[in-house]
């Protein structure tokens, strides 16, 4: 298929439709409004259903109902809206329902701003809602990757019966790039014989539920989900290593920030400084082993994490580095985008022992 020029948010929506998503429930919030607008136009053309809910709370619970009814379903929002959805997300994880949740992150806390940020990493990766659970969190850094991960994301959700989050940011949502909607090799997915479709007696009665009042039963339920997480860690962890061979400083960044770090690597090379990039594509599961494998190399002197936040992913990087090499952080927040020259300065400071 040929390439088309598309805005990030619209590419997400089209990718979802091409992945067979037929239900969308959402509530307006900047900077993701192009997703529902695109869905509102396109879904009726393919026999699907777009519904603007009365709130993000309602939207995520509609997703719960539709996912429990066996549909491929998604919602999208931005930071404050995702906060409102957290109770529902926890229920979805507890009831083991597959769905796709898109967060086009903006600056916070509170109403914050509408410019791109990465300050929802903790919320996405460490829980967000209550209880023991994980979302599978995918962090694209180009529009093409966004398209690929949206499509892959639905399959991952179905395969493991677990909600998947696409963690983007206002920059990725708003920028335009050429994309290709590739023919995908579909995964072998289990049948949704657990869904509430009307019970004819030909399977066990379907009950979508996250309540297990007996603590022993609840513990077993959670432990079973955590076994599933082990399989997800083993099979689905994705990371890109760029220019790490013989790099002196390894920078880690995801999403928009990783794009900026690529130009930093070029700037640094011109000055004879060897910089590499570890770019987690799955933020959960986090590619801890990749960090471990680079940390032992003699040529690697230090790690620097760059984020559009006050430092969130850096905690996972530091944990993975495990004190074996120094781990530094540089970030801008509130919608401010890091400047490549400022990142380069940080790298120079680290090299010069001034950090």
């Amino acid at each position: 298929m040929s390439k088309v020029l598309m805005k990030g948010n619209e590419a997400i929506a089209e990718a979802a439709i091409q992945a067979g998503c037929r239900y969308f429930f959402g509530y307006p919030i900047t900077p993701q409004n192009e997703i529902p607008a695109y869905m509102a136009k396109r879904l009726p053309m393919v026999g699907g259903c777009f519904l603007q809910a009365e709130s993000e709370v309602a939207a995520i619970n509609m997703v719960y109902g539709a996912a429990g009814a066996g549909a491929r379903v998604m919602t999208s929002s931005s930071s404050p809206g995702i906060s409102l959805k957290q109770e529902g997300i926890s229920y979805i994880a507890g009831a083991e329902l597959p769905c796709l949740i898109v967060n086009i992150v903006r600056g916070g806390p509170g109403l914050g701003g509408i410019q791109p940020a990465q300050s929802d990493y903790f919320q996405a990766v460490k829980g967000g809602g209550h209880g023991d659970y994980h979302l599978i969190v995918l962090a694209p850094s180009t529009i093409q990757e966004m398209v690929d991960l949206v499509q892959e994301g639905f399959d991952i959700a179905d395969q493991y019966r677990n909600p998947v989050m696409i963690l983007g940011d206002g920059m990725l949502g708003q920028m335009m790039e050429p994309v290709e909607f590739k023919e995908r090799k579909p995964r072998q997915l289990p049948p949704k014989d657990w869904a509430t479709t009307g019970w004819k007696g030909d399977r066990p009665r379907a009950v979508i539920n996250s309540l297990f009042i007996d603590p022993q039963v609840l513990e077993e339920h959670v432990q079973r989900i955590y076994k599933k997480y082990e399989a997800i860690k083993a099979n689905e962890t994705k990371v890109e290593c760029y220019n790490c061979e013989d790099a002196e400083i390894i920078v880690s960044a995801y999403g928009t920030t990783a794009r900026i770090v690529r130009s930093v690597i070029e700037l640094a090379a011109k000055e004879g400084i060897k910089v590499g990039l570890i770019r987690p594509i799955t933020l959960w599961p986090f590619p801890a082993d990749t960090f471990s494998s680079w940390v032992e190399r003699d040529h690697v002197k230090a790690f620097l994490t760059v984020e559009m936040s006050m430092g969130q992913m850096v905690e996972d990087v530091t944990l993975s580095v495990g004190g074996r090499k120094p781990s530094y952080f540089y970030g801008r927040t509130g919608g401010m985008v890091p400047n490549p020259f400022d990142i380069l300065d940080e790298i120079k400071k680290i090299r010069g022992g001034n950090r």
């Binding site: 239900y23 429930f25 259903c49 519904l51 809910a53 009365e54 709130s55 709370v57 309602a58 939207a59 619970n61 509609m62 997703v63 719960y64 109902g65 539709a66 996912a67 429990g68 009814a69 066996g70 549909a71 379903v73 109770e87 529902g88 229920y91 009831a95 509430t196 479709t197 009307g198 019970w199 004819k200 007696g201 009665r205 379907a206 009950v207 979508i208 539920n209 996250s210 309540l211």
Partner: protein
């Protein structure tokens, strides 16, 4: 020997966990009888609330989903949009529907979602131990209105049926009671009509059932039934609040 009284097929064999004299169980049975009579059990998907009826998914013998507190109408919306040919109902208490889930019920009704809501108004939060609900009567003592509910500080008991009846998307709303046989029969007729209207695709349907909570009202089962008749019905008048042609 002829069987004159048996459990509806639309109920499972699980014993109810409700307190003695609680009318949740009666309403469950009425819904199940209607499902049997309309022969819709295999095509019905129910949504249980958070509240004393949280285990409704163990009792109704059809596919069920358990919703977060107050969100049953949103969950039902998601289900119905995926399966427009199925019968979808929610079963919700007054804390669930009239307080935390007020937005969800208003907008599901206003969209004319083709679902049926069975709304159990027992003027209290049963499950959490007898706190004030939006439906608690003026002067009624609860653990969070220990001096009796005061309009000045807690506002007025909310009449959800009348409020929702103003919405264009609503096809049918009736308030009923289950404090005696005559009213139980009327309640069943209303529930049946609500399901029939849903099946006919007329729009949103709801039956509000005045119900007892002897445990948290601090009354005997018999006193509770009297209290529904003498105290609740005068404030919450029974009858059809809206019926589309």
């Amino acid at each position: 020997m002829a069987i004159v009284f048996k459990k509806p097929e639309s109920l499972t064999d699980n014993p109810f966990h409700y307190c003695p004299g609680c009318t949740h169980g009666i309403v469950h049975r009425l819904i199940a009888e209607v499902m049997d009579e309309l022969n819709i059990r295999q095509d019905t998907i129910g949504v249980a609330p958070v509240g004393c009826a949280v285990f409704a998914y163990d009792y109704f013998n059809c596919d069920m989903q358990e919703a977060a507190h107050g969100r049953a109408p949103a969950v039902a919306t998601g289900i119905k949009r995926v399966h427009p040919d199925k019968v979808v109902f929610t079963y919700q208490g007054d804390g669930d529907l009239a307080s935390i889930g007020a937005a969800e019920i208003v907008h599901a009704a206003n969209r004319g979602e083709k679902i049926t809501t069975i709304f159990i108004n027992n003027a209290i939060y049963g499950m959490t131990g007898g706190q004030m609900a939006p439906t608690t009567l003026l002067g009624q003592v609860t653990v969070t209105s220990p001096y009796g509910r005061q309009a000045e500080t807690e506002g007025y008991p909310i009449r959800m049926s009348e409020m929702l009846a103003t919405l264009a998307g609503v096809a049918y709303i009736e308030r009923v009671s289950v404090h005696d046989i005559k009213h139980i029969n009327q309640a069943k007729k209303a529930i049946r009509k609500a399901f029939e209207y849903q099946i006919a695709g007329k729009g949103f349907t709801m039956v509000e059932v005045l119900s007892t909570c002897p445990t948290n009202w601090g009354m005997t089962p018999v006193e509770s039934l009297e209290w529904v008749k003498d105290r609740m019905i005068p404030y919450y008048p029974l009858g059809v609040k809206k019926e589309a042609e």
